[in-house]
Symmetry: C2
Subunit: 276 residues, 2 copies
């Protein structure tokens, strides 16, 4: 219902990423799969979820499989550190472990590094050959074809057409040291903030984060922007969570139904080369 309300095309969804099999993170999938079926879907759906989801899905399909004219596959999440679980030509999705009461994963959605562009004014000025341009685009330093022995330094001749953008989704988790390394430099970080700091004991007991914890992760990961969510229902007024996070990480916002967070494309023509 929410996807439709905000104008998303349900049938375009091909891949679904489930952090863990707690009801508040999972139970929407039944209605979504059912609606896809009613809309006449035939294209397969891939669900990336922890291993435990396998038995849940097979029981579901045993009872309700008859309604589906499309395949539903489960791709189990696993492993330590960052793992690429899905990719296209232009972007990739990686999973990484979180620290919750049951097996739980975060996701990093990021654009791949684009091929470098060669500055036009240098192509003209130095009469670069097509072969030299191609090699420069691959990121190499290039020895000129004219036998002069001159070397074209890649970082002088090329630039990144845009900076690859990234979004990380971290819910649910208690704070842990390695997290910041998984999401280093992410443009937009969603991180759960179930409690305020005065509930730190409760946060620890339930393996959740406080707003301060979330902000600390954003700060240490050098995130561009932080969006917090997954608030305990005890908070009728969410500004207390927002204020607490902004004390540590000013560029924090509340995840509220329907809010959009844009990650603007940054042109990098004047930046130096960066390795992936």
């Amino acid at each position: 219902m929410q996807l439709r309300k905000y104008g998303f095309s349900i049938l375009k969804i091909q891949n679904i990423f489930i952090s863990h099999v707690h009801g508040d993170h999972l139970f929407g999938i039944y209605g979504l799969l059912s609606t896809m079926s009613m809309l006449g879907r035939t294209a397969p759906v891939f669900i990336y979820a922890p291993t435990e989801f396998s038995a849940i899905l097979s029981d579901f399909l045993r009872h309700f499989g008859g309604m589906f004219k499309y395949d539903i596959s489960h791709i189990p999440l696993k492993g330590e550190g960052l793992n690429t679980i899905f990719e296209t030509k232009s972007f990739e999705v990686l999973s990484f472990p979180l620290n919750h009461r049951i097996e739980c994963y975060g996701f990093l959605f990021r654009e791949k590094y684009p091929r470098r562009n060669v500055h036009k004014y240098l192509i003209e000025k130095e009469s670069l050959t097509l072969k030299e341009i191609a090699r420069l685009k691959d990121g190499e330093d290039v020895t000129r074809d004219d036998g002069s022995g001159e070397i074209l330094k890649n970082n002088k001749y090329t630039y990144l057409p845009y900076k690859p953008r990234s979004f990380a989704y971290c819910s649910d988790t208690a704070p842990f040291g390695a997290l910041k390394s998984y999401i280093k430099g992410v443009d937009l970080l969603y991180h759960e903030a179930t409690f305020t700091s005065d509930m730190a004991e409760m946060a620890k007991a339930t393996m959740h984060s406080t707003a301060s914890d979330a902000a600390q992760v954003a700060k240490e990961a050098c995130a561009g922007k932080l969006v917090i969510g997954h608030y305990s229902s005890r908070y009728k007024e969410l500004t207390v969570l927002l204020k607490e996070a902004r004390n540590i990480f000013p560029d924090t916002y509340l995840a509220e139904e329907g809010t959009e967070f844009d990650i603007p494309m940054k042109n990098k023509e004047n930046d130096v080369y960066e390795n992936n």
Copy 2:
């Protein structure tokens, strides 16, 4: 989400009535049960649903039972005709079979007949004793205590304080003859109207009703008011369904999210006695 949006208290729900185990009639229950749990529920929940629901629930509890601090019981629906499946002092819920692709039931929610009241002016005028009044309230004709042999006719001395109100829920079903008898005289009838009449073949094949079918049921059952719903997503504009139904049963309305239909209490002081 919808219950909360319209101000219902989720924790007050004790009994849930499921017509059949198709996804669009069932899958909301997982989130509802999960939310009840998160709100700290300890009171039991009773789910009235066809027999097939039993295995569905036990698989669900096998995977997710750990989250519940309250009991979830399944009461299987069965039988031909009207069956009382739940009752309190003042009202009762009855189930009756519908005619769909899988086992499916409709529900009739109705107030019980209240105890009769004795007209005050007659109590005074005839100096009725407490014993005579009590027996009159039970609906009997009463021979006077004074030895006169005079008989107090119940329908002269008493009246129904209010007419018991009723609501029937019928989804999903193809039309069938016995339905009108189950819901005879219902004040408010909800009946599915998946298609318009030009799609009668499709309605038949999928065992659904057209708007005309729904209106015909309301008419033959002498319903007070008809509300139609369960529209096929092919109808972007619902007035075509409404118009079709109103041609047969003028007092028809569209079930749209958030609409309330009141069943006014009718005082019956001047009506004659009616047997239940």
